[in-house]
């Protein structure tokens, strides 16, 4: 029988994290959360989460950064907005999930070869490179970097889709690709300037 000692001291809290979540876009009302649990009950994915959305809100506003950013919840969220629509305090839970995802990716709080951040990064790379996403190439890239063997198991489906004309071989590109690059660089610069 493995025994674990759990007591949280104030030193275990990260006040900067708590401050950040209250000030980030969508976190303005996080202090109003009553912990009623309606979000968790509305969420189709909460069954699989280690911390339900409700618990995550409380842990975040109290500053328990470790627990929050290493939870599975933020990756399981599909952004279906069911929680936000139901919330009796009108807290923008979905947006906070996005913010937590962003921060977790930034600070590399995920296991190696975890498909979701890899998918996200490849997506962004493709947008920067072509301006549009070609699904087939995206899936290929993600599987190559995470689980090559799944490519084989999915090949049957892939072939059927190709035959039905739903998996084009050519990469889709926009004409004025330089505009995308210019805009991306501008955002990075403005962000730095305004310290956002």
């Amino acid at each position: 029988m493995e025994l674990k000692r759990t007591v949280k001291f104030e030193a275990d809290r990260d006040p900067e994290f708590a401050r950040w979540i209250s000030h980030t876009v969508g976190g303005e009302r996080i202090r109003h959360c009553l912990q009623c649990g309606l979000c968790s009950a509305s969420c189709p994915l909460s069954l699989y989460m280690d911390y339900t959305p409700r618990r995550l809100m409380h842990l975040s506003r109290e500053g328990f950064k470790e627990e929050v950013l290493s939870s599975s919840s933020i990756w399981l969220c599909t952004a279906c907005y069911a929680c936000m629509v139901a919330c009796p305090k009108k807290i923008n839970i979905t947006h906070l999930m996005y913010a937590l995802k962003e921060r977790a990716i930034e600070e590399r709080f995920y296991p190696k070869r975890f498909p979701i951040p890899v998918m996200a990064q490849q997506f962004c790379r493709m947008v920067r490179g072509s301006g549009r996403i070609t699904e087939s190439w995206l899936i290929l890239r993600v599987f190559l970097r995470t689980a090559i063997w799944r490519l084989l198991s999915m090949s049957g489906l892939g072939w059927k889709l190709f035959r039905a004309g739903r998996m084009p071989a050519r990469r889709d590109k926009i004409q004025r690709q330089h505009e995308i690059v210019a805009m991306l660089d501008s955002v990075a610069a403005t962000r730095k300037e305004l310290a956002l």
Partner: protein, 672 residues
Amino acid sequence: MPETGRPTNGSNAGGVRVGVYVCHCGTNIAGTVDVRAVSEYAAGLPGVVVSRDYKYMCSDPGQALIQHDIQELALNRIVVASCSPLLHEPTFRRALDRAGLNPFLLQVVNIREQVSWVHLDKQAATAKANDLVRAAVRRVFLHKPLQRRRVPINPNVLVVGGGITGIHAALTLAEAGKHVYLVEREPTIGGHMAMFDKTFPTLDCAACILTPKMTAVGSHPGITLWTYSEVVKVAGYVGNYRVQVKRKPRYIIEDLCLGCQECVTACVYKEGKTPDEFNLGLSKRKPVYLPFPQAVPQKVVIDPETCIEFKSKKCKKTCVEACGDRQAIDFTQKETLEEIEVGTIILATGFKTFDAGRNPYYGYGRYPNVYTSLEVERLINAAGPTGGELLLRDGKRPQAVGIVHCVGSRDANTNRWCSKVCCMYSLKLAHLIKERTGAEVYNFYIDMRTPGKGYEEFYDRLLDEGVHFVRGRVAEVTDWAAHPSEKGKLVIRAEDTLAAFVRRIPVDMVVLSVGLEPQLDAQAVRRIFNISCSSEGWFLERHPKLAPVRTFTEGVYIAGACQGPKDIPDSVAHAGAAAAEALALIDAQFVELEPYTAFIFEDACSGCKSCIPLCPYQAISFAEEKKKATINEVLCKGCGTCVAGCPSSSIQQNFFEDEEIFEEIEGVLAYA
């Protein structure tokens, strides 16, 4: 008589003798304003005979100072520079009165809220105080010795609404010997309380404690009970209201009906076809009916919408036959309009429950076995549609019941407020359901709110009874089964927040604990009585803590749930409070009205009638013979709208005449 006079270029004409008193207010004023300097400055103003500063002008010695000076120095005008007039103008006016001077020959200057409390620069603050005192001294020259007006109070009282609140208020007033008109729009009094089975926390039978009071109302010689009636118009002012009441036709002559209900049995409808309002549609009634067995007055009603005689004029009228010699049925009865005169009005119009259909996730209206709490009260009531048995619409008994708290409460999507009574009644229903049926009962709550006397102890009692408590707001009630055990059941999905996982609980019956809301016609009603509603729609009290039954309209009081969600003990207390306030007014026998009324210079009035529609209190009328407007001083509240609106400046307002105001302005702008 003190003379009035206008100072010209600062000289004192007309024998005006002004006393100026500058208050330190401890350090509240003196900490920022150099009160000694202000007092010295004032001493040099024209007309000022004496100028003093003192630590606390509102105290007894402070007031004695004023009184002494009035008598010894023959002062005929007083200026007090102190805190806001809202606080102590009455105090200083009383001091003048005691010294034999007309109380309206006083001007209060606010050098606290408007000077010392809002400025940091002492020099500038003192200079400002000087300017304001100078202006007041110039203004007070023009003050006139106004007289307050006394209006008698009619001792009759109108109580609107015949629920427990209205009933208690009416009985209290009637016992005090006043004549009460109790107007109720349903055919019987009793309100929501008559629908309940048992009441928390004592589990008293609601009807058992209510019906004696209802009977007392019905038989009290001091109460005129008008049911099936509504107030349509209110005119007048405090102590003198003229009220029009519309009495809807029951098609029964009330004085002749005994309430034997032979007509109901004899009705050509063999069984009821119309959803019974009292049983919330869970049973059916006939066109002629008694709302419920203990109705007061114990008289039947005929519903013209469903009675065949009204629709086709070809009914056999077996009811008339059954009534026999009494001949109490009268199909020709018409609506009547009664006019009564009362001095005070108490509104006790109650609440409505939240419409559970507004939350589509809970399936009310879609799934037959989802009920509101009020419907369940009727089901478990022995006089209800199922004789007190908890049966579903298909006649089956539920093995498991889920009670969902906070439906339509504490929710930004519907109503933000907490409805106060639902936790307690949910516990009560849990107890009654468990006791009567032995079913598994689940209460889904967010917080358990049990603040009243004996309430937490009631909760303790429930905790011993094996009811399941799940802390989590319910997300949905659904009939799709994710697990074989859920087939054919209604599944409640909620996060058990205390255990920190989501649970799906299959039940046979779902009870939605609906919150309380203002009545649908609250806005229309409040306009009739000239009171306000809060932003949420409840009637507005004058002060949430210190004046919970008074309104901003003198003589009109509010009591019970129409002011905000309340349980029965609080409603009864509220009713007693409203009755007491009404009695206080009645026992004073008259009310004194402030003389800030507007008056018309008839010579200047051109009869253009611009002022008449401007008055929010309908105090101005047109005198046809003279072709001039005329103001009813008693109705006038001194708002000043007509004064500002008159194109020929023929209307002036006592205490705020144009000359007085201009003199004050010039006083502020003059450089000493």
